[in-house]
């Protein structure tokens, strides 16, 4: 059978091409445009090459923000992943309470970011917030607007509260898909609870867990709204993460060139890490699959 050749078929991908162009490519190109030019105002730009990139690479401010960002992501992953698995393992498998838990755990995921920030901002206030007031009444020196540790703890606890559910729900879905026969076989083999987790549950939920880790990494690495609402990046610069710093630079100081160079590097880092995750994930499926 002869295939019909019709080059007009290319027009069929035009809508998608336009959509991607307007949603991603063109905005990105304006950023690229800013990153290689400088201006003295009046909408007059001139070419500076890679100067902004060089400046940002040697900027202590950016490296500090990056270090804070990496620490933040590492800490919340180290808490949320094990905690999420633990919650998933202890959730009821079926019946009313299973549905109840699922709904209850989905609730934080449905709250808009700035509302979450506001909730915790109020919750943690020493004068009127339940948490802040209680801690202060117990004699604990807690003030997230002034104390470095208090600010970090607040931001981390807030993220754990907001997002552990996501990890738990994904892990729960993975656990639910394990056939009963595995648990029965484990009983017959006299495997301990730890071995059941180590050799049955963990390998079976590894796939969804990687997705959960990837999602949590990307989201936490780009976090802006919640810490901005709660601490505004302070005290000092202690909770100024990459996007907060970026916004300060781009909109606060109107340094368009450095901010654009910064955005592009930021974007590349996320792209790189996501690519590494993706590779690990696909290899996980294929490992020893000869």
């Amino acid at each position: 059978m002869n295939k019909t050749v019709n080059q007009k078929a290319w027009f069929l991908i035009l809508p998608v091409l336009l959509l991607v162009a307007f949603s991603a490519v063109i905005p990105l190109m304006t950023v690229v445009n800013y990153s290689v030019q400088d201006t003295f105002g009046q909408n007059k730009f001139f070419w500076v090459g890679l100067e902004w990139f060089e400046e940002m690479m040697s900027s202590q401010r950016m490296w500090d923000a990056l270090a804070r960002q990496i620490s933040f992501s590492a800490i919340i992953l180290a808490i949320e992943v094990p905690l999420g698995i633990l919650v998933a393992l202890n959730m009821p498998k079926s019946g009313f309470w299973a549905s109840f838990c699922l709904v209850l755990m989905s609730l934080p995921l449905l709250i808009p970011w700035n509302v979450v920030g506001t909730i915790w901002q109020v919750f943690g206030r020493v004068d009127i917030g339940l948490l802040g007031y209680t801690l202060a009444a117990m004699g604990i020196d807690y003030n997230y607007t002034q104390d470095f540790y208090a600010a970090w703890v607040t931001v981390i606890v807030m993220d754990v509260w907001h997002w552990t559910s996501l990890v738990a729900l994904l892990a729960y879905a993975g656990l639910q898909s394990i056939p009963d026969a595995y648990y029965q076989a484990a009983k017959i083999d006299q495997a301990s609870r730890w071995k059941i987790f180590r050799f049955i549950e963990l390998p079976k939920i590894m796939g969804v867990l990687m997705i959960a880790i990837l999602l949590r990494f990307m989201d936490s690495f780009m976090i802006y709204t919640e810490p901005f609402v709660v601490t505004g990046g302070g005290p000092g610069n202690s909770t100024t993460f990459l996007s907060i710093d970026l916004v300060k630079m781009a909109l606060g100081q109107f340094d368009l060139g450095p901010a654009a160079a910064f955005s592009i590097m930021y974007y590349l880092v996320i792209l790189l890490v996501s690519y590494v995750f993706y590779t690990v994930m696909t290899n996980l499926d294929k490992r020893d699959g000869r």
């Binding site: 029965q184 009983k187 017959i188 495997a191 050799f199 490992r287 000869r290």
Partner: protein, 359 residues
């Protein structure tokens, strides 16, 4: 190795069973002799897996007791029963190597490392996987995985019983024969009590010394393959076993005569006057097609030649009667009578077999 006794055992998945219909497994008394190979045969949903899970302790019965060597284990958890079970779908520990998989049950029981090494080698040889001992179990074929499951089931020598829950469902046909034969020779070698659940009659009949046929939550007959073939105790056994199954015809019986659809046929022996719904059962192997005036008048619908014999499908007043004719037999147009060999005729009252009167 142990004798397994079931006493008044019954199970219902409902919390408060009222009628008999609520029971997935109806009351049952039974002895599984030490060292015998049994098959539990029945259609899906007849309660055979329920029974197996009660024996293995994954399920606790609603009533009755189970004894292993006269010791009550009804409420004992699986781990205390010291049994091995192989499931329908391969259960392997993906991240472990084949060797670790096979050693796992022994290791968990704290066996001596040197013994584990020997034993694993031995089992690997038995299931033909010596070459892949160091491979990860992940990524092996379903066949190989199921062989590992079988191996893990057999790795302990001191088990009370070895239970198989349709273990060959996922295995390729040619491997099925091989593994079944292997299981059988293992049984001869070690003399474990084996219980093998299946819905495949060939599998059951070739594997087991004794086959328990289950129907609607009940063991309707337990016997050797020959007993199941010659004297099915229940009409279900008749048509479930055999290919095609037994012909069952409504009849009225008085003494040594039966009347089927207006035609009288001799039975050879007396059955008295059975009450209830009376049926006559005869296997296709004991029916023959003849010309003349004797026997039931039938019309031939079609003839299936399966190579070693012919299956003649006939119609008798709306009921199908199957006949097995020898491969060489000629089937002529005037052959329109079915005659039964009296040795193969069984009489049923309300589906249960009526024993002939001893003269």
């Amino acid at each position: 190795m142990a004798k397994i006794t079931l006493e008044n055992l019954a199970h219902s998945y409902l919390p408060n069973p009222t009628g008999e219909d609520d029971f997935a497994l109806k009351e049952l008394n039974h002895d599984w002799a030490d060292g015998e190979a049994y098959a539990l045969l029945g259609a899906s949903g007849c309660g055979k897996s329920t029974l197996l899970n009660i024996i293995s302790g994954l399920l606790h019965p609603s009533q009755g007791r189970i004894l292993f060597n006269d010791r009550d284990v009804t409420m004992a958890p699986t781990t205390q029963r010291n049994i091995a079970q192989v499931f329908q779908f391969p259960v392997v520990y993906d991240t472990m190597t084949v060797r670790e998989n096979l050693a796992f049950p022994l290791k968990n029981r704290g066996a001596d490392p040197a013994y584990i090494k020997d034993r694993v080698q031995q089992i690997a040889h038995m299931i033909g996987m010596e070459d892949s001992l160091s491979h990860k179990a992940r990524g092996l074929t379903a066949d190989a995985k199921q062989k590992i499951s079988l191996g893990r089931g057999m790795v302990r020598e001191d088990v009370n019983a070895l239970l198989f829950d349709e273990p060959l469902t996922v295995i390729d046909p040619h491997m099925k024969w091989e593994l079944r034969t292997q299981l059988k020779s293992l049984h001869h070698q070690f003399g474990h009590t084996m219980i093998y659940v299946t819905h495949d009659q060939t599998e059951a009949l070739t594997f087991a010394d004794k086959v328990a046929v289950m129907y609607d939550g009940r063991v309707v007959q337990m016997g050797t393959p020959q007993q199941l073939f010659e004297t099915p105790e229940h009409t279900f056994v008749g048509y479930f076993i055999g290919s095609p199954g037994m012909n069952v015809l409504e009849a009225t019986v008085t003494g040594d005569r039966a009347v089927v659809g207006g035609t009288e046929i001799p039975l050879g022996q007396s059955f008295g006057t059975p009450a209830g719904k009376v049926e006559l059962g005869v296997r296709p192997e004991f029916a023959s097609l003849q010309s003349g005036k004797k026997g039931l008048p039938v019309t031939i619908k079609r003839i299936e030649d399966v190579g070693r014999h012919k299956i003649v499908r006939t119609d008798f007043q709306g009921t199908e009667i199957n006949i097995i004719a020898p491969e060489g037999a000629e089937i002529l147009p005037d052959m329109n009578r079915v005659v039964f060999d009296t040795a193969g005729v069984n009489i049923y009252s309300d589906s249960w077999r009526v024993a002939p009167e001893v003269v």
